[in-house]
């Protein structure tokens, strides 16, 4: 059976990416990064999602990005925005986060002798994040194939981004069709320890609008 490393944050998108990888016949190795994020409960969510979607293994790698700061998600002195008025790159953007996460996925893929990595990046709702764009993913894939033993031996590594061009509504519908239990996921940037969502941050607003557009009920409980 072919293997895939799947980056799993504990949110709605990566849960759907995991379900898609499994549906495509991959044995899934889920990888989460404890990077000092404000919303700690997403790691608890990741654990539950990995289990419920039958991942054969799940690793949570600890990497303290708070030392660098520079993002509302890792720097407690920067507030999580709730206005939705941003037109620039959001302050919730974590410097080089996807590059770091994909690099760790690459390391695990190489030791597993696996040529497939799935990541739930999306260019529609997160168009402000430079590392969610297709041209970035293509450049990462090219670099990865030059970086590794497998690449040198001609075994091509592929970065799969099944959600790249889907709207939030389409992601939710795809996830539901594949049996994703969205009640286990945490999307909120400032969820409390129990995983309760604030309902007002950018991530909550996008999620709520997605469920509304899909005509489905969001099983997550919101504080606001």
């Amino acid at each position: 059976m072919k293997k895939a490393v799947v980056l799993l944050s504990g949110g709605l998108d990566s849960a759907t990416a995991l379900a898609i990888a499994r549906d495509q016949g991959y044995q899934c190795y889920a990888l989460s990064i404890d990077y000092g994020q404000r919303h700690r409960s997403e790691l608890v969510a990741a654990r539950k999602v990995a289990q419920s979607l039958g991942a054969v293994a799940h690793q949570i790698i600890k990497l303290d990005l708070t030392a660098f700061g520079g993002s509302a998600l890792t720097d407690q002195t920067i507030e999580v925005p709730t206005s939705g008025a941003e037109t620039d790159i959001p302050v919730t953007y974590v410097p080089a986060r996807n590059t770091i996460m994909l690099s760790l996925a690459l390391a695990w893929a190489e030791t597993l002798q696996c040529q497939d990595i799935f990541v739930g990046v999306n260019a529609v709702d997160y168009s402000g994040y430079p590392d969610c764009r297709p041209e970035y993913i293509q450049a990462f894939e090219k670099m990865a194939n030059l970086a590794t033993k497998a690449g040198i031996e001609g075994k091509k590594l592929t970065i799969h981004t099944p959600l790249m061009h889907l709207s939030k509504k389409e992601i939710i519908k795809a996830g539901l069709a594949l049996g994703v239990d969205f009640s286990l996921t945490v999307s909120c940037y400032q969820a409390d320890e129990m995983g309760h969502a604030c309902g007002v941050c950018d991530s909550c607003r996008i999620r709520k609008a997605g469920f509304a557009a899909a005509g489905k009920c969001d099983p997550v409980s919101y504080l606001a």
Copy 2:
């Protein structure tokens, strides 16, 4: 004054790369990764080297790569080779190590608003490592410029590899000319806690041969 992030392992090459960056007029932010390496004393060495070469800051980021295994440097069940007979990619190769380290350097560079990263990779003595080749570095640089806020804003990030085409002899001569105190560095893959080098692993052999070729005395003490 222009800033640079410099990857600093505590070995001979990265110490020289740091000295070169400083010599080129950069204010240096040294970055070391505690990735669970066997040779822990190289982190102590990195601290001393950063200080002695006037780095304005030095961060040691903890990231446990032993969870992935797959290298003699992070997996205690794989022996460090001493034969020098390898023609293939060495078992001391750590999967995706340079990609992970450069990604972390990229994150710090982005928060520092700095466009320059120095890394002491070398294609001559470590030709067996895929992630020490010029084509790999070029691909990483291209990816990095698509990954970041700065890249989008047109501020080009450069990955400097001043040692890429130098022999070990030339690196040692360059380091000495710039005042690097090589007694502070640890190159050995299995150095003990005090930083004593084994004298027989691949890294020790290459270092010893380099000092011999340069006609200089290696200030490090060898057990064998």
